[in-house]
Symmetry: C2
């Protein structure tokens, strides 16, 4: 059994869901994957830091209210910065789970740089860094000989990056189309059923599905960030979300949705990319898809990605009604992948 | 660059498509995967055997008519049996691509045993052995420390077994539902458009899509073999196709299809399994699926599999209108996976 010390940077809903999953799957990780994972540090922006190299108790961590302070769990000298925090926690793996800044990648990019500087492997579900700074971070990971894993950034725990890297060897991805934003898919589904955009939003808010400020989703920026991540990783591109022509669903009306249904089509927010010679064309916007398209029939918060490859034709992967548990699973699967990559086999 | 000698057992349409793909991807395999693959032997039941340890010329092999003899390419003493053939060919990897016998696994099971006995890794797209003799063959592979790969047996080159093994670590598959037989899916699609079963069959035959004898597909036996393979590998079950209650589409009428469409559903031939305590319930038969189901609207020869997991919820993988090239890709991807598993990295 190989021991891995894990430090969490960020402890919001995703970090907490991951901690719960780690607690639940403790026995399984040891028995099946030869991994014994201990959380030795948790750093938050507003609720303090806790470090204990012997291991923080996950149940106690989870019992702290989201507004509470982690200070009582802290057993170590104070760390000056993120590199210091990771070193104090003696972390083998850093789980980056802070708030998204999709314009620049935000603090998450610095956290990831710090983790490599401190000699740790990195796992993240934060799409900002992959959309905005992938090449640099990949080069850093290579130079420091550390694993850099981010399966959760596009479709939560549904395999996208690992799908191509591990199960489609020798294939080249020549393009893709995806319904990648759960919120807009839910809104469009509700509007097809007769709600206005505002009513659909209020409904989704009531169910806790959209953020307090859903503009990021509605205006297509979340989908654009995911498209950038896919282009950068799967097609070796160099785009940022700002480079991608993006139209959201704000101007989509019930009449427009109805008209498409009458024609046997469905309006969906689609992220699309295709290689054209040396260029990669990328765009995000509402598209009328024929009903036979695997992306057309997605209901609720489901999302899907169709990959076009040179040797294997077209493949679609669909994730059904994902929630926070699926994002937590993405982090867990990346953690197991780190274990495999550094030579741990049960 | 690591050299791999490859022997083909069976050289029908799948074997030929694989040889064409190997010829096309020669440079890519060397540059990206560090593999130099040489076909050193081809064995057929009715058209002789060719062995050349220095490498058979693929273009010449492919220029021989399907009815022609391989004898002119043969450079070696005659091999007595399959083990002898594999030894004479000095094969590192055996590609088993003979005709399917789904009742017993047929000669393919013996070919695979012979390959392990001769010290070779095995790659196959033949579902018989996985449906009928998986446990034994897996044990043999483990005991002889050889790779045993069979991604193409269900859904051609679309990842199914590798999807679970490589991209869903820690997840348990608790059930699945799949539209796994391309022929019946095409027939049902045509019947929905107004054809009778016989008309649909004639049409599909004209397009070269169904076998001379399509009973195996129509009566559900192909789907049952694939269901058995999935249960045995993904759910650690021990079933054979004969154990699976199977109903085909022979009694499905246009009226029945129409009636379901009127109710907003689609009749499809579904293979379904679910873990119930210590048991696994499996069945194959026509089911009326709601249109929102990802399996309901597959057209043409497309197929799809929805996996139910404990940690990742539900995932669907869809393969769009596959042909023989996708089966050939399955063999190629398994060959690359063998290279990776034995430590070859570009």
């Amino acid at each position: 059994v190989r021991h891995l010390s894990v430090a969490l940077v960020g402890f919001g809903s995703v970090g907490r869901a991951f901690a719960r999953l780690l607690l639940e799957t403790d026995d399984r990780l040891r028995a099946r994957h030869g991994l014994e994972c201990t959380v030795t540090g948790v750093a938050t922006r507003r609720h303090g830091v806790a470090i204990d190299r012997l291991g923080l108790d996950l149940a106690t961590l989870l019992s702290i209210e989201p507004d509470g302070s982690l200070a009582e769990l802290h057993c170590c000298p104070h760390a000056e910065d993120t590199v210091g925090f990771i070193r104090e926690a003696a972390a083998d793996v850093v789980i980056e789970a802070t708030v998204l800044d999709v314009e620049t990648g935000g603090a998450a990019v610095e956290h990831i740089r710090s983790a490599f500087a401190a000699g740790a492997h990195v796992v993240t579900a934060n799409k900002g860094p992959i959309a905005c700074a992938y090449r640099d971070l990949r080069a850093l990971a290579t130079a420091s000989r550390r694993q850099f894993r981010f399966e959760g950034t596009v479709m939560d725990g549904a395999p996208v990056f690992n799908l191509v890297a591990e199960t489609l060897p020798g294939c080249e991805v020549v393009g893709f189309s995806g319904v990648l934003n759960s919120t807009t898919n839910l809104l469009l589904t509700r509007m097809e059923q007769g709600a206005s955009l505002d009513e659909a939003l209020a409904d989704a808010r009531g169910r806790g599905i959209v953020e307090a400020n859903p503009d990021h989703d509605i205006d297509g920026h979340d989908a654009a960030a995911k498209a950038a991540a896919l282009v950068n990783v799967l097609m070796d591109g160099t785009v940022t979300p700002r480079d991608i022509p993006t139209i959201g669903i704000r101007r989509v009306t019930r009449d427009a949705l109805d008209a498409e249904v009458q024609r046997g089509r469905r309006l969906r927010l689609v992220a699309r990319a295709a290689r054209r010679g040396d260029e990669i064309a990328v765009r995000v916007g509402p598209e009328a898809l024929p009903e036979a398209d695997a992306l057309a029939r997605l209901g609720g918060t489901s999302n899907a990605l169709t990959l076009r490859t040179d040797l294997m034709g077209e493949l679609t992967i669909v994730e059904h009604d994902p929630g926070i548990e699926q994002t937590a699973y993405a982090l867990l699967s990346d953690l197991i992948a780190v274990g495999r990559a550094i030579g741990v086999r049960a």
